[in-house]
Each structure stands twice: as structure tokens, then as C-alpha cells.
Amino acid sequence: MAQIGHNISLPERARRIRRHALRMGEVQGQGYIAQALGIADVLAVAYFHATSYRPEDPEWEGRDRFLLSIGHYAIALYAALIEAKIIPEDELETYGTDDSRLPMSGMAAYTPGMEITGGSLGHGLGIAVGMSLALKRKGSRSFVYNLFSDGELDEGSTWEAAMSAGSYKLDNLIGIVDVNQMQADGPSLGVLNFEPLGPKFEAFGWFVQRVDGNDIDALVDAFDKARQHPHPQPRMIICDTKMAKGVPFLEARERNHFLRVEPQEWAEAIRIIDAGVTA
């Protein structure tokens, strides 16, 4: 369990993560802000309910590993790492600028708390398999989480990893797939149909749950069950999320993989988030 801030509710954590992300988005004027708003509830539960870590020592051996396979979601993870006090809050104004520790696409060498270099999509789950095998070899009780996207279900390497995780019965591996139904070229199911998704992972030997990824109570329950599942198999939490969740005028945009937001709209979005308007 997280060691800090037990007095702050998970919805409040999610609100703050959205706020940090919007402030970073404002620095660039555009970006993967819809994904960040959509995944904020998952990250709030991951970082403030499910995982163990030490903010002052991001490489603490006993931590749970949280891998961001989707490098372009870096803005979302930075927001969570800022909220977790692994990254100082004042660094968010450097997002995506020269000499920043917060590049547009997540890289392990740049950022404390960033476990892997994502962004060449389809890498995370396989790296997680190797880390899970190695942690077992070391006798570690840590979990490896890999956050990836519905778009990455198109990558064959994802399925190589899924099959091996089932084959090795990796009960210390928890996959989280963000099904936000939006890829670069349009709605995910229109790019390639990956449904029925749950049965696919079940057929590969995984314990699968599918939840509303913007329902914090449901996420808490799913993360708990994933950790406590008694059978020797990898665990998958399929999270159906809403792009741009929490900012209705951004939710309404049809093509929101890479959002362009007008200067005055950032303040409006932050005002909506601060008011706790969740549409």
C-alpha cells in the first residue's frame, strides 16, 4: 500500500492528477491530454491504493514496478508521479521543453519513477514478463504492473508476451489495458477488432477482470482482487475509460487522440476540474 497521504481521498487524488496533466498540457498547448484525463482514475488507484513505493527512493528494491508501455501517456504518469511526490510539482512547467526531465514520450533514463522507455508500442508487456521472471528468481514479493493501451493489442509482440506470461504462470504480473476506444487513425475497434478481449486473455491463461476504468470503487476492488487472486496465473484488468474524462467540452470532441486546445480553454478545463464537475 502507498505510504503517504492516507487522509486524501482517491477521487481527490484523481482530480489532482487531472489538474497536473492539464497544467502540463497548457505548457505545450496540445498533446495527449485526453488519454491523461481518461486514465487518471486508474493511476490514482494504482499509486494511492495498490502499489508500494518510496517517493524519496524511486529505485527502492522492494517497490512494485509500474511500467508505462504507452510512452505518449507520459503526461499522465508524470502527473501521478508529481502527486506521489516522486517528481517535484514545479517541474511540470518544463514538460516537453528543452533540458526537461519530462519529455513528451516517457523514457527511463530521463525521469525518476519511469521504469522503462515506452513508446515503441508493444514493448511493455514483454519487458514486464522478464521483470516478473527475474523478481521470482530473486525471491521478491513485488508485483510488476504494465499499463498498455487497446492500440497495443494490434502489436503481435503483446500476444507473444501474453502467451509466455500464461505459460510461466506469472502470478506477480498485473496487466492493465486502457480501452479508451481511440487510436491515431480513429476509434480502436475500427482500426482492428480486438473483441472479445477478456476471453482472449482468459484463453491465454490469465485471470481477467473488466471494469469501468473511471469508477474508483470498481478499480479498488479490481486491483485488490488482482493482487489477492489465489491461483498461479497472471492477472489482467481491462479498464474501459472515457477519453478526456471530466472535461465535458473535450470529451465531446470526436478526434481526440492528439488534442489541440485553445489558450483560453486550458483555464476553463482547469476551472471545471477544480469545481469537481465530472459530467
Binding site: 523514457m107 527511463a108 533514463a109 521504469e115 522503462i116 522507455t117 513508446g119 515503441s120 508493444g122 514493448h123 508487456l125 514483454g126 519487458i127 514486464a128 514478463v129 522478464g130 521483470m131 516478473s132 521472471l133 527475474a134 523478481l135 528468481r137 530473486k138 503481435g156 509482440s157 507473444e160 508476451a161 502467451m163 509466455s164 505459460s167
Partner: protein
């Protein structure tokens, strides 16, 4: 060059020009009939390394038996990971293990590591300077199975990958030395593997492998052959044959392709009046030959002439290895012939 698939074999229509050899089995040795060899030097060296270093684990993609890793698997079964016929996963999982402090040694064929898994080596391993050793059998033209198995361009591809060290050893004794040497180097390494009964060639030259060093095995006044991998074996044989013809040929062995020992290469090439020949088991595009040529150009070092012996820029044919090595000019006989021709020009 390739016959039409609608044309029947020459010998069946009474038109054969030479005896027919059979395609050797995939695991056949490249050793000559009377050459001393050692079995599976990589597998034994890695097993010995693992005795001393708990971090060492072995991974393969359904090719342990064909990459000599079965020796390691038998010696250390609890440290062997079968990743299935999935080279992308092989690279990703090795990256994950290295992140957790293990030293993964993975094996597959050179074609699969280079062509299929390049992105996974590049981003998951090399970009993070992770301590993963990638050991790949069937480099260049060492199988008669055709382009699906012939890694004729692996070095060209891997030379462009930052952080990656590239090793092309010549014989069994060198492989035995390379294993502990690259284990001590913290970072990703790509090693071309000679597997099975691997010839013993270098011991008589008092040779010691040093990471990043080219070594002069034999000096010569008329020509210098710069070579790596099994072509060093061929170069030494060719030099012996040339001597009988009154040609004095030196051999500079360059087992570390990257980083290249330019200082030694340039010093040797600066000696006046010699034909410099680079011999490699690789396409003439993007390998050792072009690396040496570029180095010479940058440094304004001009040998009397510069020539390349290597595989053509083509998808090669299937068949028996000796036939193919002759056809593509990397057999000892062909090296001797061509060097004599070049010296006569």
C-alpha cells in the same frame, strides 16, 4: 543467377558441370574434414561463467539445441528460460531481466535477431545500455538453407545501433575467451556464433582476444588481409597458399567490429606499397569492408589498392556450403585466386 523454377536440374538433362554436393544439415560444422575442433565452445564457456556469476541466465527462442545453449541448459536447468519461438519476446524479456540485475545471455539465429527483433533490441535493450548478450548462430553464409536463414546483412544493420558492441569471433579458442570478456563489459553485445564442432585455428599464433582490439596474426610485405569471424580462418589458409606462390600476405584479425580498432587498422594500412583486402562473411554493403574504407578515407591513409572479399548484394542461393562459398568467392581457393589477380593488375 538463379535457374528458372521451370527448368529441370542440369544433371537430369545430362548437362552437369560439376559433382553434386548435398545441403548439409542445419547443425553441421563448418570445420574441414581434417581440422581440429572443439564441441560447443560457447555452451561450455557460458556454463563455466555461470558457475562463477549468479547473475548469468540463458534464454532461447526454441533454438537452444542449435545454438549450443543446450549445454548450458543441461548444466544449469534452473537458469535456463525457454521463451518460445518468439524473438520479440526474447529481447523484451531479456531487457526486463537485465533491469532487475540479471545478466541474460540469449540465443537465436542471426537472421531473426537482426531482421525480426531489431526494434526490440534497439529500444528495449540498447537505448538503456542494458547488460544483455545476444549470441546468434548462422552468421553470414553458414547455412545452405537460403535467404530465410542466411544473415548476410546482420552487421550492416547492427552497426547502426548506438551502444551495441559487435563481436565476430574466428574459432573455438576465441569464443572461449570472448564469453568472459563480454561478460565483464557492462552493456549490450551482439556476438556472431560459430556452433557445433568449431575449428581450432588461432592457438598456434599465440593469439589472445581483447575486446576492441585488432591483432596482427601474420605479417606480410605484399598484401594485408583484414578479416573477422570465419574469414580469418580462410585468410590464414589463403596466406599459406599464397606463400607457396611467392606472395607474402599478412592477416589482421578484427574480431570486434564495433567499436572498431581504427588505430591499429590505420597503422597497418599506412605501411607503403601493400594491397589491402578486407574479407568478411557478410554482404559487401555496410560491413567490415566499408567500415575500414570509411576509416581510411577519413584519415587520408592510402594503401596501394583496396579490395573487398565478401558476399554480393543479393539474396543468395540454396545448396551445399562448399559450393556456395566457391560461388560467392569466400572459399580459400577463391581468395587466393582473386588476390593473385589483384596483385597482377
Amino acid at each position: 543467377m538463379r535457374r528458372s523454377k521451370y527448368e529441370r536440374p542440369a544433371h537430369l538433362i545430362g548437362n552437369a558441370e560439376r559433382p553434386r554436393l548435398t545441403t548439409s544439415a542445419m547443425i553441421a560444422s563448418i570445420a574441414g574434414a581434417d581440422q581440429p575442433t572443439r564441441p560447443a565452445p560457447f555452451g561450455h564457456a557460458l556454463s563455466a561463467l555461470a558457475e562463477k556469476d549468479d547473475r548469468v541466465v540463458g534464454l532461447s527462442a526454441d533454438l537452444a539445441k542449435y545454438t549450443d545453449l543446450h549445454v548450458f541448459r543441461a548444466a544449469h536447468p534452473d537458469r535456463f528460460y525457454q521463451m518460445g519461438m518468439a524473438e520479440q519476446l526474447l529481447m523484451m524479456s531479456a531487457a526486463g531481466m537485465a533491469r532487475e540485475g540479471l545478466q541474460p545471455w540469449l540465443t537465436t539465429y542471426a537472421v531473426f535477431a537482426s531482421r525480426r527483433a531489431y526494434d526490440f533490441i534497439c529500444l528495449a535493450i540498447a537505448e538503456e545500455m542494458l547488460d544483455v548478450k545476444i549470441v546468434c548462430a548462422l552468421p553470414g553464409l553458414t547455412t545452405g538453407y537460403g535467404p530465410s536463414h542466411q544473415a548476410t546483412e546482420d552487421i550492416a544493420m547492427f552497426r547502426g545501433m548506438p551502444n551495441l558492441t559487435i563481436i565476430d569471433p574466428c574459432d573455438a579458442s576465441e569464443i572461449e575467451q570472448v564469453v568472459p570478456a563480454i561478460a565483464a563489459h557492462r552493456g549490450p553485445v551482439y556476438m556472431r556464433l560459430l556452433r557445433g564442432n568449431v575449428p581450432l585455428v588461432l592457438e598456434e599464433y599465440g593469439y589472445r582476444f581483447e575486446l576492441g582490439k585488432a591483432k596482427l596474426l601474420r605479417d606480410g610485405r605484399d598484401t594485408l588481409i583484414i578479416s573477422s569471424g570465419l574469414m580469418t580462418m580462410r585468410a590464414l589458409e589463403a596466406a599459406g597458399e599464397l606463400r607457396k606462390n611467392g606472395v607474402d600476405a599478412g592477416v589482421l584479425h578484427v574480431p570486434t567490429i564495433k567499436p572498431l580498432d581504427e588505430a591499429t587498422i590505420l597503422a597497418e594500412c599506412a605501411r607503403q606499397g601493400r594491397l589491402v583486402v578486407v574479407a568478411e562473411n557478410h554482404t559487401v554493403i555496410g560491413g567490415l569492408g566499408e567500415a575500414v574504407a570509411a576509416s581510411l578515407m577519413r584519415s587520408a591513409v592510402r594503401p596501394a589498392a583496396f579490395r573487398q572479399i565478401g558476399l554480393p548484394d543479393a539474396f543468395l542461393e540454396a545448396g551445399a556450403l562448399p559450393t556456395l562459398h566457391d560461388m560467392y568467392g569466400i572459399s580459400t581457393t577463391k581468395i587466393v585466386t582473386r588476390i593473385k589477380e589483384w596483385l597482377d593488375e
